[in-house]
């Protein structure tokens, strides 16, 4: 890892100012992706601005039909939150199955979605639940947030402050995980909210996305009988040592069926 200037800030404004003043600044949240990346010299920022001192970014609250999760809330805190468990149990369960306990004690929701690893779990939930990403300057619909592999709608000096999730009537997440890292080889989040059934897919392609063909096959119902007939474009699927494109295309349908069945239970 190359040396850098370290700055810990205690407000969102101070973080924005610090990054604007830096040559090539980067925010660090839980550091569970940032630090390994810097160790491998895949990133070598001039300045690292630590969001760990911004108290207002930490915490979960439920207001009416919305769950609001501060960007610096750890995966462990979301998993253990009685409020999330009651309002959107599938979201608490998703958080409880990210990586391992030590990773969950540091990794944050803001860091996970800002990073947009194409195999990360949260993006599927953000898309399927119709969440909104709140930032230091605007609100971004979850569906428009993820733009490409490791790319999002965020500007360089923009900070995620919170993610708001509408409470779903029913929801479930199923992931086929890499047995070593626990990242999703394929993960599918299915949610029924306000009479609409949405499908969020991660791990399968370069970008977390809505499974529109799958949604059409479900037709607003939690009935998976039409899923087998869906023909997903294999050429869009990721292919690596863990799984071929054909296998991933197959897994998307299997995970969708399992998630639909888990919703219906």
């Amino acid at each position: 890892m190359y040396e850098f200037n370290y700055r810990k800030v205690d407000s969102v404004d101070a973080a924005v100012e610090a990054i604007q003043q830096a040559d090539d600044g980067k925010f660090v949240a839980g550091g569970q992706t940032m630090l390994p990346t810097m160790k491998h010299r895949l990133a070598s920022p001039s300045d690292v601005i630590d969001l760990g001192g911004i108290a207002e970014l930490v915490g979960v609250c439920v207001e009416g039909d919305t769950v609001i999760i501060g960007a610096m809330t750890t995966h462990a805190a979301v998993a253990a939150s009685a409020e999330v468990q009651a309002a959107i149990p599938a979201l608490a369960k998703l958080a409880a199955n990210i990586g391992d306990p030590a990773v969950r004690n540091k990794g944050t929701i803001g860091g996970s979605i800002a990073n947009h690893d194409p195999a990360a779990d949260y993006p599927a939930a953000v898309i399927a639940l119709g969440a909104t990403v709140k930032t230091s300057r605007r609100e971004i619909p979850g569906e428009e947030f993820f733009t490409d592999m490791f790319e999002t709608a965020l500007e360089e000096d923009e900070i995620i402050t919170a993610v708001t999730f509408p409470v779903a009537e029913m929801a479930a997440y199923m992931k086929f995980e890499n047995p070593a890292s626990r990242y999703a080889i394929v993960g599918v989040f299915v949610a029924k909210t306000g009479g609409e059934v949405r499908v969020g897919v991660t791990g399968a392609t370069s970008c977390a996305h809505r499974g529109l063909q799958l949604e059409a096959a479900l037709g607003g119902q939690l009935d998976a009988s039409g899923i087998d007939a869906v023909e997903l474009p294999v050429e869009n699927m990721n292919s690596d040592i863990h799984a071929s494109a054909e296998y991933r295309a197959h897994l998307v349908k299997v995970m969708t069926k399992r998630a639909v069945e888990a919703c219906a239970q």
């Binding site: 890892m1 040396e3 810990k8 550091g31 390994p36 810097m38 391992d100 306990p101 030590a102 990773v103």
Partner: protein, 157 residues
Amino acid sequence: MVTVNITVNGKPVSGEVESRTLLVQFLRDNLRLTGTHVGCDTSQCGACVVHVDGKSIKSCTLLAVQADGAEVTTIEGVANGSELHPMQQAFMDNHGLQCGFCTPGMVMTALDIVNRNGNNLDEATVRKELEGNICRCTGYHNIVKSVQAGAKNMGGS
């Protein structure tokens, strides 16, 4: 260079570090607490697990400056003098180690498991909770037994 003040195993320590110094490097190189190991560079193996403010974290994936002001417990802070902690004793009694490289991280994670899940641990819970700790010798079987036995003995029964 930056100054860090950390309480390690109950003792306040301070040191001058580079921003890029990892907590594990500070523990091993500055404080000579070499019980905390580094087994990988991908944050996956768990040999470096310590507790920071009571929670298990991978000390290879935290900057020393980020631990400024924190309370850190390492494997060296677990025993009571020459008397092993019940969790350490359980690893000894159950042949929970072979080469021993992963053991400090295993014990620190095991203590965190007990903190969150209590003294009565079933095998499935232990196996799931140990996902972030890799052992290349034992096949995990005796590690799982050790954690269950250690947890029980910590409860005093």
